[in-house]
Symmetry: C2
Subunit: 468 residues, 2 copies
């Protein structure tokens, strides 16, 4: 059989591109760096959105929508912010057939425009906290684009909140970090993210502190899957977000922002994919069980439709493939590529024996199951394979993370995985040295593995790795 | 009491702006013509999206996402299309700190870029129909912007499909028109839309036929709430969307496109709003029942929470207002403004008598209801008021539509409502004359009120009106 994908061990980046093309997840757009998200890919994104959005609402934030176009002058108000984003801006100079008096930028992120409206809407401490989120597209011009990972336009959610105190802002940035992002990534995406704190050098432009969630990909590199920022009073000062306090004074608010994007689709592929294609964790999968008619025959169509209905009634997201004029082998390869967690193959021979064949994408196992037992078997497989994918990813992260004592060892270890090294051995100077060799400090964690409160805690550990 | 809103009869456009500001639905954005959709407004849009998206999926279309940026050259490929959209384009000339070799436009609509990918993805007749939809922002520079109705950026869904035959394309454009748009607008939005066919002069730029859904607003003007287009083979030729047919020939596909937008929020306000604010039809409302604690007292908080839980358990979307340190009168005015269909007021005095007060936004009625009967009473009120809002809007449309025999009468009647006049009395020349006086042909309908198959049918009726 002709091979469908470049094997991961041969060329991981090539394999990644192959999966995206062959599983019909996305295409490159006509303008350099942009992408087209095809239905198979977009259905996964919709599931990500639904799961994330529910958690964001439970955390108390409300969805809103702010303009795509931001006056250029807004970005200049926060010095670090404009410095960080200027090189990546797309600028609209003409609108409605005329040159614009002031050019507008296409939002690279919305702290500035949302800050302007927070200032309008916040008056008293009673208006705080103000908890907003938006689902939107943003544009950051990319010189070395790669689909899902670095694209000039991407889709994301960006949360923006204002609080009366620093403590409240910090608590909320951490609530999002753990209760929304970590909960989703571990529980649904099945990625054992490492949660930590960015160094000053890796912070978001304009933040006083950035929390991050880092996943290890199949090749041992790191991917930042989400960030949550404390912005201190930087944007509150730049946009005059003030409130009258309970005691009558006027104070600047404390703000946060936090985001996750279609980049998570890249993480999904690179964390769980194998040489046969994508493997989608069952809780995430738009199609959890895929009923396939192997070929026509007595009662086959009816049996397949019945199984589809029974699975749907049991709460399983189910698809039915009855394209019997396409060779079964080709359809099975396609189902592998798209990573449906469980296939139920229904054909005349097995059916005559009262069986369907349950194929699990995670381990490739094929088991004949008596038709009346299929629903139960599918539910059990979905539950088990969610865990199996997580366990496999966790094992890889543990196996490929080494604890070392010096910066040199850490940089060396980053060739094949992650290195944990005392931050005191690295420091800002060592970080620069590592960066020069293509290695970054992904995050700092406390000695007990938790997220540190500051960069000055004793015994901080740095995680060094190559990253996407 | 100081009046909260300008009365509709005094100044309808001013009333509209007042509602948007006071109900906190939206704000003007900093770049002219853009808008900020605030949480109260966005929650309604999310409900519109959910209801529409479910219907779109039932109709077989799959969601995808195409780039915001389109090469300028794409638009030029279809002559009428570029002519129609050129005056409204926003153009990006700089990206990543450099002038771009080819300027890119911010999508005003996506026929062109989607056409390019349809051509890539469609190979054989087996790949047809190709049924796509996307939820996205689009930009059309507006000289006279008005929030929700005409904004330089707005949110919408745009469907794009390709078919093997003209008949199939037409059937699908009509399926969307009736089974998605009309079904949603009538059944959920509660707007008795008139469904018809646009004249050649009012067609979408590049379409061979445009179907429309027109609503009558509170001032008798028309608002186009959605359109579904047959594009013939225009875009298929421009983008080379071809397929090999079952008999082996190569044919151009037939395409459609169809869209509805945040403009529906404007229609909602102007169709159902009254002098106290918005009235949201129950099936649409993000908050259907709003439990309000009038003031603190023995058992009041517990009773309110219990009612909230009981309503939620009965499938009602419910909110709880326990901000007892804000005067009740102010909170009640706010609830009126935001148009929650039903309020359940819980206070110490009524509670002592075993009652809560059920307030219906539609007719303003206030009825004491025994606490154990509240859920049943709320469900009944929601059902009845969905119908009541529709009936009221339909009565207005019927009362304010006059049947006349000449163009002059039709133009005159358009001062206060809609005019129905034989299309043979108007024709392209009469249409131009009407346009000169601010009156447009909203649509053509058949003598029996159905949607005509062509502009040449005998006894076509034209609906003339002033429009937003």
């Amino acid at each position: 059989m002709a091979r469908v994908l470049t094997p991961r061990a041969e060329d991981f980046p090539r394999w990644y591109q192959d999966v995206i093309a062959k599983a019909q997840l996305a295409d490159n757009g006509p303008v350099r760096g942009t992408m087209v998200i095809r239905p198979t890919g977009y259905a996964i994104w919709e599931r990500m959105q639904a799961e994330m959005d529910a958690r964001i609402k439970v955390a108390g934030a409300e969805n809103a929508y702010f303009p795509l176009f931001i006056p250029e002058s807004y970005l200049r108000r926060e010095a670090e912010h404009v410095e960080g984003f200027s090189p990546e801006l797309a600028v609209v100079t003409h609108g409605g057939g005329k040159q614009l008096a002031e050019p507008v930028v296409v939002r690279p992120t919305s702290e500035t425009v949302i800050g302007e409206f927070m200032a309008k809407w916040v008056d008293s401490y009673r208006d705080l906290p103000l908890l907003l989120n938006q689902w939107a597209n943003v544009v950051r011009w990319e010189l070395r684009p790669r689909v899902f990972l670095r694209t000039s336009e991407f889709l994301w959610q960006e949360g923006h909140t204002a609080h009366a105190t620093e403590a409240d802002a910090r608590a909320y940035a951490r609530k999002i970090l753990h209760e929304v992002y970590e909960d989703f990534m571990v529980g649904v995406l099945g990625i054992p993210v490492l949660v930590g704190r960015k160094t000053a050098g890796e912070r978001f432009a304009g933040a006083t502190n950035t929390y991050t969630l880092e996943g290890m990909m199949g090749d041992g590199k790191a991917l930042q899957l989400g960030t949550s920022h404390e912005l201190g009073q930087n944007f509150a000062r730049a946009f005059d977000i003030t409130y009258s306090s309970a005691t009558g004074g006027v104070e600047h608010a404390w703000t946060t922002s936090w985001g996750t994007s279609t980049r998570m689709l890249g993480g999904l592929i690179m964390c769980h994919g194998d040489d046969n294609g994508l493997r989608v964790p069952p809780r995430l999968a738009p199609v959890q069980a895929y009923v396939m008619i192997v070929k026509d025959g007595e009662g086959v169509g009816e049996a397949a439709a019945k199984l589809r209905d029974a699975l749907r009634d049991a709460g399983v997201r189910v698809g039915l493939d009855d394209r019997v004029d396409t060779p079964f082998g080709r359809r099975a390869v396609d189902a592998e590529l798209k990573g449906y967690p469980v296939r139920i193959e229904v054909g005349p021979r097995d059916l005559a024996a009262g069986n369907a064949v349950l194929v699990r994408r995670t381990d490739g196992s094929k088991t004949p199951v008596a038709v009346p037992d299929v629903v139960k078997a599918v539910l059990a497989a979905l539950e088990a394979d969610q865990q199996a994918l997580y366990d496999e990813a966790l094992k890889r992260r543990l196996d490929r993370t080494v604890t070392v004592g010096t910066l040199a060892e850490a940089i060396e270890a980053s060739a094949t995985g992650w290195a944990k090294v005392p931050w005191s051995e690295v420091g800002p100077a060592g970080e620069k040295e590592a960066n020069g060799q293509g290695v970054t400090v992904r995050c700092l964690i406390s000695a007990d593995g938790t997220v540190p409160d500051s960069e000055d805690e004793p015994e901080l550990q740095a995680i060094l790795a190559r990253a996407y």
